[in-house]
């Protein structure tokens, strides 16, 4: 059933392969740092992306813990409001652009060629370049914290004119770093599209591709469509700050609301950029551990496409309080509610996949199941936020903070963790340590819900977001959130321990690490996957109906 591995791929693992006289065309890679700096191998670049995003996840996490520490009880105890605002801003920017997005790109680099039977990404040198832009971008961004006047302090949404006329002197550096990160994303997206459309194994039609590949194909188009809009809006800021234009300065005839329209035209598809690949990962894991084919493959693809198209039409729901005309308000309300339909289809399909399956609860499945439940909770609060009249009460409160963290942390992040646990045997050749993984899972679930669930209540009770100090009636909710955040934050160290242990050794995993029924192409290569795979394209066999 599964395609045969080309024999030379297996030989590649052995260090003696070249000496054995196979005369293979691969040059010996340079040693040490240079090897990583110059690599064009999709697996090595994938690893670089994943390590980078994990590092950023911890840096952004420390910023979040500074925020939660200050909010532990009423009053100003640990940091001044100036620094608090820099922490909320940097936490958001680092997590969105530095942790979640590169993590998905890293998974794409590793897994897309393996899942479609390609030897590498279509544009390997470009791939290297798009990765190495990221440390530059984020080094620059983090360095603003040390500049006079501090780093960005205007929220990750950087609304003008707070970020232009009233921004700190370091704002220009912030703009440059977003430009660089944006270029990286666009190049990465171009590469992924080129790979998927040109390098699939013979016989693999688009509708045969694993959903992770499908969701990434659609995500790449979203990236190419909206990252230039972000680049445009930050360039307009740059002009306002340094060259005397007045795009967003009302006193000079500019329009501060225009900023929000442009930002959210990027920002809403961005939300889906951070969740569509998660759908793909979960759609791979649930069938594996339910030992049953994914229910409604075609409708999954259509639902993903529908969500992507609708994502361009709903940006206004972030702006219900800016004073849009009634017709605009109604349009954005209806369009937003509509997104619940394809999203619902996905959740129903996952549940139907589990129904009458044969389910086991290995660590990847635990994270995937938690994803389904918690992402759906985030979806519910999203539906509530779509109701424009009620949104006047939710808007810019902790209810919104609860909503998007439910979608992004126990949503997107849990899917990334699920993906990491799922593919670690393929990457390292070993299973992740079971007990440690389970501790990591349960502490994460408890921590994340203790952090974010009470935020629904503090928001409904009237607590605005982005405040360093709060009225006494919000004290209990914030106490719970802070305790939860520390549990969640520190339990992520277990994940690092799991990865290190797994890279060093552990129970050996066979090629089909999660059972004989897994027929995606990545399970046809040995574990660990050799540096070069599918040099001869595999023949794709469609699963029997």
């Amino acid at each position: 059933m599964a395609p045969k591995v080309p024999p030379q791929a297996i030989l590649e693992q052995s260090s003696t392969a070249a000496e054995a006289g196979h005369g293979h065309a691969h040059e010996t890679p340079p040693k040490g740092m240079l090897r990583w700096l110059l690599t064009t191998n999709h697996k090595e670049i994938g690893t670089l992306y994943l390590i980078f995003s994990l590092t950023m996840f911890f840096i952004g996490g420390i910023f979040a813990l500074v925020v939660r520490l200050e909010l532990f009880q009423p009053g100003l105890q640990f940091v001044r409001p100036e620094f608090f605002n820099q922490m909320t801003t940097m936490h958001g920017l680092i997590m969105v652009f530095g942790a979640i997005m590169p993590a998905f790109t890293g998974l794409a680099n590793w897994m897309i060629p393996l899942q479609i039977g390609a030897p590498d990404m279509a544009l390997p040198r470009l791939n290297n370049f798009s990765f190495w832009l990221l440390p530059v971008a984020f080094g620059l961004l983090l360095s603003t914290l040390l500049m006079p006047g501090g780093g960005p302090n205007f929220g990750w949404t950087f609304y003008a004119p707070l970020s232009t006329t009233y921004g700190p002197p370091s704002t220009t550096f912030f703009i440059l770093s977003l430009h660089i990160a944006g270029i990286s994303s666009i190049l990465g997206a171009i590469n992924i599209i080129a790979t998927i459309l040109n390098m699939r194994a013979p016989g693999m039609r688009l509708m045969d591709m694993p959903l992770f590949v499908w969701t990434w194909l659609i995500t790449s188009f979203l990236l190419i469509a909206v990252m230039p809009v972000l680049a445009g809006v930050v360039t307009m800021m740059l002009m306002d700050i340094n060259f005397g234009t007045n795009f967003f300065n009302a006193a000079g005839g500019g329009d501060p609301v225009l900023f929000q329209h442009l930002f959210w035209f990027f920002g809403h598809p961005e939300v889906y950029i951070m969740i569509l690949p998660a759908f793909g990962i979960v759609s791979a894991i649930i069938p594996t551990f339910a030992r049953k084919r994914l229910f409604g493959y075609a409708s999954m693809v259509y639902a993903t496409a529908a969500i992507a198209i609708l994502s361009f039409l709903v940006w206004g729901h972030h702006m219900f309080a800016v004073g849009m005309p009634l017709v605009g308000q109604l349009f954005f309300m209806y369009a937003t509610m509509l997104i619940a339909v394809p999203t619902g289809v996905k959740v129903f399909n996952w549940v139907a996949t589990m129904f009458r399956g044969s389910i086991s609860f290995e660590p990847p499945m635990l994270f995937a199941l938690a994803f389904v439940v918690q992402f759906t909770i985030g979806g519910f609060s999203g539906l509530m936020l779509a109701i424009a009249p009620a949104d006047f009460q939710y808007h810019d409160t902790y209810f919104v903070v609860a909503h998007f963290h439910y979608v992004l942390v126990p949503g997107a992040l849990f899917a990334i963790l699920a993906g990491a646990y799922y593919w670690l045997p393929k990457w390292t050749g070993h299973y992740p340590h079971l007990r440690l993984s389970q501790w990591h899972f349960w502490l994460s679930v408890i921590g994340v819900n203790l952090t974010f669930f009470p935020m629904h209540f503090s928001g409904l009770a009237g607590m605005p977001r982005r405040i360093p100090d709060y009225a006494l009636q919000f004290a209990d909710f914030n106490l719970a959130s802070s305790v939860g955040s520390f549990i969640f934050g520190f339990s992520q160290l277990l994940f690092v321990a799991v990865i290190v242990l797994c890279a060093r050794g552990g129970q050996k995993a066979p090629a089909q690490a999660w059972g004989d029924h897994t027929d995606d192409l990545e399970w046809s290569v040995p574990s660990p996957a050799p540096l070069h795979t599918f040099e001869t394209p595999p023949t794709f066999h469609r699963p029997a109906h």
Binding site: P81, F154, S299, G323, F348, M384, P389
Partner: protein
């Protein structure tokens, strides 16, 4: 039987936790305005719809997880498509959403109808205070945070309305339609009082409308809801809703006081009087950026104490306070403060913290410059 128990337990947990959630202080307030109850109703309707869908979906999921365990020898079935089912679970949510959109649209139309207002109040956001102007009544004032810094820094015990108290609340009559006009002098702010179910951004260069008809007298508190800089967390809103007659009396008194203040422009003020008045104005208006001792927090907010340009050039100093500094955080105060307050605060900053210029700036002088 076991399935039934699982279902029952799930329903009980959900109902139980939602009952807790409905308790006071955990949920959106029902509010006291003509529309706040309706908005609360929409909130609860969509909430219960989500709960029901959640019970069904999570119920089916957890049923499957328990019933079809690999460890209990479950064998997986081999279906992976069912067009009928898929059409049903696309169509049913769509119908639910249409059902939800109808009342939401009706409420939204009401919110968007500020016509026939009995009273117009201009609300201007400024870093970091609110300014209220009763249009056509010649009454206007600033509303600042009244919580002492000592409480924020933990040096004093925190009061009941910590961070939600102001020096002068917005006084509004009950049972009258009050139209708000929102704008801003600097960055974006958002005016929000949960009990009134009004939240609207105040945006420089724009005037947004919203309205309220308060149905119960009382004191209602809220906060700025749009990040507006360092002291975003410290610009509360307090609305004091009073009976109609009481409001009319209050407004008449304020008008009289404003007229009296206007008389003060023409007379000659003593240095001591101006210093005393100026210290108060500085404390409520200027100190949040330039700091209570005038030391500022550079580079964004320059020091005033020992500021050479300020000490040497009185004309530039007055000009800066009146018209602000374009492209910086320093706003124009010409319409925010009256001539007496402007003269007082300028005199104060020219003579406090060792800036001993001895200059006395008279309100009449300021009034003249304002007319230019």
């Amino acid at each position: 039987m076991r399935t039934l128990l699982v279902w029952l337990a799930g329903v009980l947990i959900l109902v139980g936790s939602s009952q807790v959630a409905l308790a006071n202080g955990w949920n959106m307030p029902v509010g006291v305005s003509s529309l706040s109850g309706e908005i609360y109703g929409l909130h609860m309707t969509i909430f219960w719809i989500c709960v029901v869908i959640g019970v069904v979906v999570f119920g089916a999921m957890f049923y499957s997880l328990f019933r079809y365990r690999h460890s209990k020898g479950a064998k997986s079935a081999n279906f992976h498509e069912n067009t009928t089912v898929e059409i049903i679970w696309t169509a049913v949510p769509l119908l639910i959403l249409v059902g939800m959109a109808v009342p939401a649209t009706a409420t939204l139309q009401k919110i968007y109808d500020p016509s026939d207002a009995d009273l117009d109040v201009m609300v201007t956001g400024q870093q970091w205070r609110w300014r209220y102007e009763y249009l056509g009544e010649d009454v206007s004032f600033n509303s600042n945070l009244a919580t002492p810094r000592a409480q924020i820094n933990g040096e004093e015990e925190r009061g009941e309305h910590y961070l939600l108290e102001v020096d002068e609340p917005l006084v509004l009559p009950i049972n009258r339609k009050v139209r708000f006009l929102f704008t801003s002098d600097d960055v974006l702010h958002a005016w929000w009082v949960p009990e009134l179910a009004v939240k609207q951004d105040s945006i420089p260069g724009f005037v947004n409308e919203n309205w309220v008809r308060i149905e119960e007298p009382g004191i209602y508190r809220g906060q700025c809801a749009e990040l507006c800089g360092v002291d975003h967390g410290f610009m509360p809103i307090v609305v004091q809703a009073v009976e109609e007659e009481e409001f009319d009396t209050w407004l008449a008194e304020r008008k009289e006081a404003a007229a009296e203040e206007a008389m003060g422009i023409d007379r000659e003020w003593e240095m001591d009087e101006l210093m005393e008045r100026g210290e108060g104005v500085f404390g409520s208006i200027c100190a949040s950026c330039h700091q209570p001792e005038g030391q500022g927090s550079p580079p964004a907010f320059p020091a005033l104490a020992g500021n050479e340009q300020l000490i040497e050039d009185a004309d530039w100093h007055i000009e800066t306070v009146l018209n602000g500094v374009s492209g910086s955080a320093m706003p124009a105060f010409r319409s925010t403060l009256n001539p007496v307050e402007l003269a007082a605060v300028i005199t104060f900053t020219r003579n406090a913290w060792g800036n001993e210029t001895g200059d006395v700036v008279q309100p009449s002088e300021i009034a003249e410059r304002l007319e230019e």
